[in-house]
Symmetry: C3
Subunit: 144 residues, 3 copies
């Protein structure tokens, strides 16, 4: 009924960090015929756990959404199943640039309905991270 | 199973902002006989997308909860169905004033059980917003 | 189907504070055979509503997780049912110390899978609180 999520091709496990952190990249819970994904705050981090694209909001946003996409895909889900995102920006001055990226990203995904979302400013766990996004996705489980 | 939420009498669509933003005011997901509403971070914004009540915490709180109420009502729900709120205050010095408003608001709604809630300080997406609230509501779908 | 959660041996009700606050320590919602717990932002507060362990990140973290554990237990749940946490630190300089505590705590709980999690810096509702954690737990209801 419950399992942790993994996308090792883009993100390693936080317990493998030099300073280990006990959280999963995401948790999947199946409630009968419904799958729910709780994806952790995800940022511009590579498969070795390193921050990538220091100082570049656009590149960090792209990498963040690439990581989220891989996590969704690992459970057979996509952005069409995302119902809520929470976005944290280190500096709200980047709000317009982040939105311009996200607008294009969702358009490229062919989304007709957009997830509910909240965006606030917050300092993140590493000083060099500019953006972090967590999300909830819900989908109907395909019977095999 | 999934639909975006709208309350055009109080709030326009974020994609209609001068600088469009791709999120829905809320998403409804039906899991069998249960309806779940994920309502986006909502603030003191009017149906033209303008911030209203600059500098007035009480008036902004009232408008925020009016907008949330309209969104709940758009799907046949009410504050009695709200299970969790997350409240962001631009300045925690307004915590007492915000709570006094919310205490009265919930009393006026006749709530006997209060939602779970978290409240933290955060800079919001517009410099003139003092409060933002997101929520989750769950209700049993009435069969017609 | 919906009920508020209580753990009076460790936490009083926020409506009993000197300055009352209208929220529940947590809300339980039952969706058929599944129980979902939404636990409010919880901090190092005692059963009289007082902040305890001022200035001590480790002691505050311990108390916070003790309070959360009591809330989970009040509904027959445990950390094995937690699917998502959101952690707020007043000062991200405490991130490593908080993680070291949490790593040990989860190990002591025997967790093999860790919850999804997001951790950001935020000022909390009281100036003397250093850490606050909210969570979502999901479990299968045991039939009696």
């Amino acid at each position: 009924m419950k399992k942790s999520m993994h996308a090792p091709q883009v993100l390693n496990e936080p317990v493998k960090y030099v300073k280990p952190v006990s959280f999963s990249r995401g948790m999947r819970v199946d409630l009968g015929e419904w799958g729910i994904l709780f994806i952790s705050g995800t940022a511009s981090v590579d498969k070795h756990g390193k921050t990538v694209y220091r100082g570049d909001l656009l590149a960090q946003s792209k990498r963040t959404f690439k990581n989220l996409t891989a996590l969704l895909k690992s459970e057979g889900a996509s952005w069409h199943n995302v119902v809520k995102t929470t976005c944290f920006l280190k500096d709200m001055l980047n709000y317009d640039a982040f939105n311009e990226f996200r607008n294009r990203f969702y358009k490229d995904q062919g989304l007709k309905m957009f997830p509910a979302s909240t965006c606030v400013e917050a300092c993140l766990c590493r000083a060099d991270l500019l953006v972090e996004v967590e999300l909830i996705a819900i989908f109907k489980i395909k019977r095999k």
